[in-house]
């Protein structure tokens, strides 16, 4: 196995352009598991861990720019992430446990494109953008358009994730939620994971709802139908029930070793209902 170890972003991009079949490596928490099975024998690895400019979390005028190599432990503890994007901090703290959070990176998590990526519902409701770089330059990809399917992304050959940009929210949401549902609190792959933001106007009508689910479809999903339904309306039991019914339209849960489709759907509907009615934790 050949390991290429670029020292900066320019070198990383140049090496990847010359070896587009190389496997980018960040924290290794997924890649090393595969490697141990022998599935990657003979492949070239592009170890990005020495690229310092992709490590930092920077405040800009319009948002927070999170380097792709920022670890989950760094996200969990970063004051700006905690203050401005608490759902992302909560999601980072729910990934694996301490040892995985110290190694796994946000960019690696996104590039791995698991349907169960814990950070994804949070990034979806914060309407993040993924900044991809290649020899040709850089482009910004809306987070919800980044995934092409299970373990598949829309990155072009030679493109690497440099950072993830989260635009600041214009106003504080009235209510917010991150909830991961797994077999246990740590080290589990989620059965469903939810992130929600809700803004309500002075007339008590919903100004905006953003709600996303992970592990409920091949990729993370915003609940566009339910979001559209509640906009401009006053929240109540009937409306919440209707929104929960519409939830199905945006997801396609599966049966697998971790859960059943029915359980996933039912729990996700409970999470949405509780969020809309402000009764979180009642189930």
């Amino acid at each position: 196995m050949t390991v290429l170890r670029p020292r900066d972003a320019a070198e990383a991009v140049a090496l990847y352009a010359a070896r587009p079949a190389a496997l980018p490596l960040a924290g290794g928490t997924d890649l090393l598991v595969l490697w141990t099975t022998g599935a990657l024998n003979g492949r070239t690895v592009l170890d990005l861990s020495g690229v310092k400019e992709w490590r930092s979390i920077r405040k800009t005028v319009t948002g927070l720019s999170i380097g792709s190599l920022a670890t989950h432990a760094e996200l969990r503890g970063d004051p700006a992430v905690r203050r401005e994007f608490p759902l992302l901090a909560a999601a980072a703290a729910a990934v694996g446990a301490e040892q995985i959070q110290n190694r796994g990176t946000l960019g690696g998590n996104i590039a791995n494109a698991s349907p169960a990526g814990d950070a994804f519902p949070a990034l979806a409701v914060y309407e993040a953008a993924v900044v991809a770089v290649s020899r040709k330059g850089q482009r910004s990809i809306p987070f919800c358009e980044f995934f092409a399917g299970v373990k598949k992304t829309n990155l072009a050959p030679g493109e690497l994730i440099a950072s993830v940009v989260l635009p600041y929210l214009e106003t504080r949401p009235r209510r917010q939620l991150f909830r991961k549902v797994g077999t246990r609190a740590a080290m589990s792959i989620s059965k469903t994971a939810a992130a929600g933001l809700l803004w309500v106007g002075p007339d008590r009508r919903v100004r905006e709802l953003r709600f996303a689910l992970g592990s409920m479809a091949p990729t993370v999903r915003r609940l566009r139908a339910a979001e559209g339904l509640v906009k401009g309306k006053r929240l109540g039991r009937e409306l919440a029930a209707e929104a929960c019914e519409l939830l199905r339209r945006d997801v396609s849960p599966i049966e697998d070793a971790r859960s059943t489709a029915e359980y996933r759907l039912h729990v996700s509907q409970n999470l949405l209902a509780d969020f809309l009615l402000g009764t979180q934790g009642s189930h």
Partner: protein, 166 residues
């Protein structure tokens, strides 16, 4: 060649860059305190400190240790000269078969808070198939803090105190 520090000593490794840090420690350096459990980052048995932070050594290719500081359970006490955390595991029955213990000690040694809830969260990345965890949490909670203190004056003082109590 990959050069890094293990337990305060400079080491170099000339083998394959993608060999797991776990295997380099055990096979090349003869440091066998670090154990392999699941080999896929789930069980925490192989936990070592990389630049002071707990990581599972089965998921670290040795090339990523270049220039960094690795600490294993060999850096704690030794038989007859256990450190306070190890002694607390011994005194509070935190060890049964002992396979998960070196990893647990490394994670526990970095905990800033040692109330039982903080210990449970801090050690959530470790599996123990013997103790049922109660005694492990107790071992860490009852250990004198700071947990990583070694042969400092304060520690010598506490040891003397412990001897007198006994």
């Amino acid at each position: 060649m990959i050069a890094f520090t293990v337990n305060g000593r400079k080491r170099s490794f000339k083998g394959p860059p993608f060999k797991r840090l776990l295997d380099v420690l055990r096979e090349d350096f003869g440091l066998t305190a670090t154990k392999e459990g699941c080999g896929e980052g789930e069980c925490g048995a192989c936990t070592v400190l990389l630049d002071g932070k707990p990581v599972t050594a089965c998921l670290v290719p040795v090339c990523q240790a270049q220039g960094r500081k690795v600490e294993t359970a060999e850096s704690l006490g030794r038989p007859g000269r256990l450190n306070p955390l190890q002694r607390s595991f011994q005194e509070n029955a935190g060890v049964q078969c002992g396979f998960c213990t070196p990893g647990l000690l490394m994670s526990a040694s970095r905990l800033k808070k040692t109330d039982p809830e903080a210990v449970r969260v801090g050690l959530a990345g470790h599996l123990c198939r013997c103790t049922g965890y109660m005694h492990i949490v107790e071992s860490v909670s009852k250990a004198p803090s700071p947990l990583r203190e070694r042969s400092t004056a304060a520690l010598r003082g506490r040891r003397a105190l412990a001897r007198r109590k006994r």
